[in-house]
């Protein structure tokens, strides 16, 4: 099992750091899955997370100048690591002006991801900062826990409003209530609602547009027969929604959510080379 990668381009480094920062805001601990062509940051829906799950996928070629991976075995050419993304985020934070960043899987006293940052200096040789980030190697028998979640059989799929606006609305609502209702219909309308003993607040968004989903199988056709005005809704933990919105450092190219009434809300945020899926279950 071997892993070595290198980033030399500053723009790629900044982009990668931003992705890691976003992941760090969403999960205290998560799984990093490495394949020959992609990296995945995975959070599986455990009770400890409040049932939230996350799937973030990056193409390594868009970030790394060098990337070598040898998995646990030839037929299973992948590596699954458990790590604290905040550690990785901190290691990259002071690498803004780096000449190169190398990441390597090592096992000196315990398995670690060694992040070596080469910094410019006035002297003849560069300054090197290394951060040994402890990781857990996830054995193959547990890999099934981390499969890609399938797109749920949703009732409504709708594009999200401008994230910045949505974020400021949700942040203010967070002060008033612990849960928020997201409802949307196939006419491009979405409402965010909170209701307490003292006050109820609703923010209406219009003309958002509904993404066209190719009906691959019969399951999606239920959405097509739906009354366009009818709202699908789910009440979710407002903090989880706020975390998702606050963690976005860059505006996604596409942002949408799929609502399964009273079950789950599935958020999809797409950037050019990163896709992030986030599932927030409905509250009982």
């Amino acid at each position: 099992m071997r892993f070595r990668a290198k980033i030399v381009d500053l723009a790629c480094l900044n982009h990668f750091s931003r992705v890691i920062n976003t992941i760090a805001k969403l999960a205290k601990t998560c799984t990093l899955r490495l394949t020959v062509s992609k990296l995945y940051f995975i959070l599986s829906d455990k009770v400890a997370n409040g049932g939230v799950s996350m799937w973030c996928e990056l193409c390594q070629g868009n970030f790394f100048d060098e990337f070598q991976m040898e998995g646990v075995a030839a037929e299973h050419n992948e590596i699954y690591l458990e790590l604290v993304p905040e550690n990785l985020s901190r290691a990259l934070k002071t690498a803004q002006a780096a000449k190169a960043v190398k990441i390597k899987l090592t096992n000196k006293h315990c398995p670690c991801l060694r992040v070596a940052v080469e910094l410019p200096s006035l002297s003849s040789s560069s300054r090197i900062v290394t951060h040994d980030i402890p990781v857990g190697i996830i054995p193959r028998r547990l890999w099934n826990d981390f499969r890609e979640p399938s797109v749920p059989d949703f009732d409504v799929s709708i594009y999200l409003p401008v994230l910045k606006t949505m974020k400021s609305v949700v942040e203010r609502m967070k002060n008033l209530s612990n849960s928020i209702v997201i409802e949307a219909n196939l006419s491009g309308e979405m409402n965010l609602k909170i209701e307490t003993d003292l006050v109820s607040v609703t923010t209406h968004f219009k003309d958002l547009g509904n993404p066209p989903w190719a009906s691959e199988d019969e399951c999606q056709s239920s959405a097509q027969d739906r009354d366009l005005e009818s709202m699908a809704e789910a009440r979710i933990d407002i903090k989880k929604l706020q975390q998702l919105l606050a963690g976005q450092q860059v505006n996604p190219t596409k942002a949408l959510c799929n609502i399964v009434s009273n079950r789950i809300v599935h958020f999809i945020l797409l950037h050019e080379d990163v896709s992030l899926q986030y599932f927030i279950p409905a509250l009982a």
């Binding site: 200096s121 300054r127 900062v129 040994d132």
Partner: protein
């Protein structure tokens, strides 16, 4: 110190309005008077109450330190930025290939798989002078060091680090035409070093530190201080209580301040003392008083 700082709080407005500043001491009234003579005939007088206290003087001699390094403050400031703000201690070492390394110190050796280990290597030519024993290493409090670096960077002064064996104090010095700054920090003693024979002048070595320094901190600190006291009458055993010297009245200390580094809330096996002096030292340095007078028992730990 807060009240003294309060007088000079807004530097920009002070620069615009104050013509001169008079500082005088009224010992009988226990007042330090700071008088600002400002524009338009305005005089602001601040009467600050003070209390006399016994001064703790660290006993150290930079000449006796085996290793020293000097670097522009900026280089060191850029180095510490890679460590988390909450990190308590850092280990400075002379590594292979002439590199000087800084590494975060982990208190709990039993859990290496829990925390990130960060290490920075600097080439010798980043330093203005390097005179270090190969393989030497010391561990000291990073927070205090960061404080000094902020000041040094702002004043654009090179910083010199004098150190010796683990357990002996590390001295950071800054020098200017108008001031000289010495920051003395305790360093962590190396548990493996108690195999070495006692030093030649009969001062007994540090008490063999067990893996948990917790219980023996007081005598450990005392022994550390007394082992650094090098020119007592030959053969005199180190005093079991904290040796103090009364400061000579002729010394002028324009910028003297004392900072109690021991924070009551810290875990018992980590307590570092730092004594911050800014003084124009009389040539030849202060010589030890002929009699060692213990004026106060070591009561700092009980704060």
């Amino acid at each position: 110190l807060q009240s003294f700082l309060g007088v000079f709080r807004s530097l920009p407005s002070l620069e615009k309005t104050v013509g001169k500043c008079l500082i005088l001491l009224k010992p009988r009234a226990n007042r330090l008077v700071v008088q600002l003579h400002c524009k338009y005939g305005v005089t602001k007088t601040h009467n600050l109450a003070f209390q006399e206290c016994e001064l703790l003087q660290a006993v150290y001699d930079t000449q006796r330190c085996a290793s020293s390094l000097c670097a522009p403050a900026r280089v060191l400031a850029e180095a510490v930025v890679h460590f988390p703000q909450t990190l308590a201690e850092v280990t400075l070492g002379a590594g292979p290939g002439g590199k000087i390394s800084l590494r975060n110190y982990m208190e709990d050796e039993a859990a290496p798989s829990k925390s990130v280990v960060t290490e920075l290597r600097l080439a010798e030519d980043e330093f203005q002078t390097v005179a270090v024993s190969p393989g030497s290493r010391i561990t000291f409090c990073l927070k205090e060091f960061r404080g000094l670096l902020t000041f040094a960077e702002a004043s654009n002064l090179p910083l010199t680090i004098h150190y010796d064996e683990p357990g002996r104090p590390v001295v950071f010095t800054l020098e200017d035409t108008v001031l000289e700054v010495h920051l003395v920090l305790a360093t962590l003693s190396d548990p493996k070093s108690d195999l070495q024979p006692p030093t030649a002048n009969g001062v007994s070595h540090l008490p063999a530190p067990s893996d948990d320094f917790a219980d023996d901190l007081e005598s450990y600190m005392i022994a550390m201080e007394s082992s650094a006291y090098e020119d007592g009458p030959s053969g005199a055993p180190p005093s079991p209580t904290f040796p103090l010297r009364t400061p000579r009245p002729a010394e002028s200390d324009p910028e003297e301040e004392e900072e109690e580094g021991a924070v009551p809330g810290t875990p018992p096996h980590k307590k570092f003392r730092s004594l911050f002096f800014g003084s124009v030292l009389t040539p030849g340095g202060p010589s030890p008083a002929p009699t060692q007078e213990v004026l106060a028992e070591d009561s700092d730990g009980e704060n």
